[in-house]
């Protein structure tokens, strides 16, 4: 009976150790962001529409993929940090207005953090559609979204990822701008599209 306690403790440690080992996601691969990435935002007011873009994002951010042993889904670590000041609405007035609305001076970065993919894209298929989860941090507020990705692969190691999603100003605690006593009002909905060019590096 006196030996039973250490044996039980040993068994407990061993089992918990194995259990932890099984839950830890296994490293799968790494992707690096290459040139020509963009983020488009489309919205409207009661008098016009606007389309703004951060073009030519080319910081070599890295996304690391981990396979999940219990399902087909993948965990991702890595993020893209875009300068809100780089938004261009092709009209200086609208550009300045969007930057002010997104509080670019206070919160200069828009961060897109990719969290997961429903499955790893098949490089043999030219076109894949996959679901994923991201968080978007904008104007000091972080919000989690499910997005539908469209992957276009060159069949080797380069990939183009396009994600579209409708978000709302209110998701980020931003009040849509209203002017001249509310006679000009910006609609709450925004169509966001990010277009990423990536390369598998590992």
């Amino acid at each position: 009976m006196i030996y039973l306690k250490p044996v039980l403790i040993l068994l407990l440690i061993l089992f918990s150790g194995f259990s932890l080992e099984n839950k830890k996601p296994a490293y799968l691969t790494k992707w690096v962001v290459t040139k020509g990435c963009s983020l488009k935002v489309g919205g409207s007011t009661n008098i016009n529409k606007f389309n703004c873009i951060i073009a030519n994002y080319s910081k070599p951010d890295t996304l690391t993929f981990y396979s999940n042993n219990t399902s087909e889904s993948l965990k991702i670590t890595g993020s893209l940090k875009l300068d809100v000041q780089n938004f261009n609405c092709f009209n200086p007035v609208m550009t300045g207005d969007l930057r002010k609305t997104l509080k670019s001076k206070e919160f200069p970065k828009l961060t897109i953090r990719l969290l997961s993919l429903s499955r790893y894209p098949e490089f043999n298929n030219k076109l894949n559609t996959i679901k994923g989860v991201v968080t978007i941090e904008l104007a000091g507020t972080t919000k989690r979204f499910e997005v539908d990705y469209r992957f276009v692969s060159d069949g080797i190691k380069s990939i183009n990822l396009i994600a579209r999603r409708q978000v709302k100003f209110s998701d980020f605690d931003i009040v849509p701008p209203r002017r001249i006593g509310g006679m000009i009002q910006t609609n709450n909905e925004l169509d966001v599209e990010f277009n990423l060019n990536m390369k598998v590096i590992d």
Binding site: I47, N48, V93, R178, I180, G181, M183
Partner: protein, 135 residues
């Protein structure tokens, strides 16, 4: 004093309806004229809406006092007096104010011209009302 307040109030209500009704219709029918208002120069959080809508009463009371003080200078029939009063206000007050505004803010000439005409219209309407209610 009573005449100034009553005339000012009548002009205020009239201008409120005409100005904001006209502005609402203009936004609906000529939206392209208002695209420039999507500009960080303009208050966008709604915190000053009440001040915006009080403008009709502020200008009416100010003009009512101005009319009472100088009405003897405007001669002829009520319509002519009202028009002349509006023009005097536009030249003495609006034109210099619009001039300095256009010279210092990043706004278009169309926008400043529309503000001038809007103010002129308001002053003429107010002048016509004062010529009838406080001759």
């Amino acid at each position: 004093m009573k005449k100034i307040l009553i005339s000012g109030l009548i002009a205020g209500i009239t201008l409120f309806i005409l100005s904001y009704g006209g502005l609402f219709l203009a936004v609906q029918f000529f939206p392209s004229l208002f695209i420039e208002y999507n500009n960080p120069l303009f208050n966008s959080d709604g915190s000053r809406d009440i001040l915006f809508y009080l403008h009709a009463f502020v200008i009416s009371m100010a003009l009512s006092w101005f009319w009472d003080r100088f009405k003897i200078l405007f001669k002829g029939p009520a319509i002519l007096r009202g028009f002349e009063f509006g023009l005097v206000y536009a030249i003495v007050s609006l034109l210099p104010a619009m001039w300095i505004t256009f010279s210092s803010l990043d706004i278009t000439f169309t926008m400043i011209l529309s503000w001038f005409l809007f103010g002129l219209m308001q002053a003429i309407v107010a002048g016509l009302i004062f010529a009838k209610t406080n001759p």
